[in-house]
Point group: C2
Chain length 125, copies 2
Amino acid sequence: MTESRPQLPEALVREVKFDSRGLVPAIAQQHDTGEILMMAWMSAESLAETLETGQVCYWSRSRQALWRKGETSGHVQKLMELRVDCDGDTLLLLVEQTGPACHTGAHNCFFRSWSDGKLEQAESE
Amino acid sequence: MTESRPQLPEALVREVKFDSRGLVPAIAQQHDTGEILMMAWMSAESLAETLETGQVCYWSRSRQALWRKGETSGHVQKLMELRVDCDGDTLLLLVEQTGPACHTGAHNCFFRSWSDGKLEQAESE
């Protein structure tokens, strides 16, 4: 017997355009503050699992494996709402982030700001 | 004589990781409200032009050409701040959007929300 895996709902199979690698970019935004936390990639399988469990699961391009966000660190993302853009090639995940989203320990991944010809620590967030 | 094109500053050449097509995803966020407007792609050339002019210029994958956002529609994006993520493979553009960001006329591209097994008009924004 094989374990049954969550399947992506038909409407999303139709509407989400995965690229030639079978991936789609997904932006994670804190649902109540609007803070952009990170951008990562999803496969159909990781998106299906995310919808099934309510916990965000990406696809790790470096490990070529499902990446259950926070599985090791505890810094999970609870999915509050999934949005799909006009042409179906980008996802927006409205999430409740536990702890920092970035592997560096920063609250979000966009902490470097371009200023006066160099990248500096962003002033906010 | 050839027209001189804006060059990407060295620090960004070092820190921004363009993919095998020479592109990097760029998220546009309204700087003061946090609204995520759209996601598109930038080449080194389009990023250099954006920094030079202060008006956001993407790379159109379908047209394989510079895409000066709003050149036809007038719905331009003024760059307020550029951020680079932790590993340099995603950009965040904090912008002042004129008019709707989406070619459909919606204010942003993420107007479809997954609910009860189908994509519906998002309630907000």
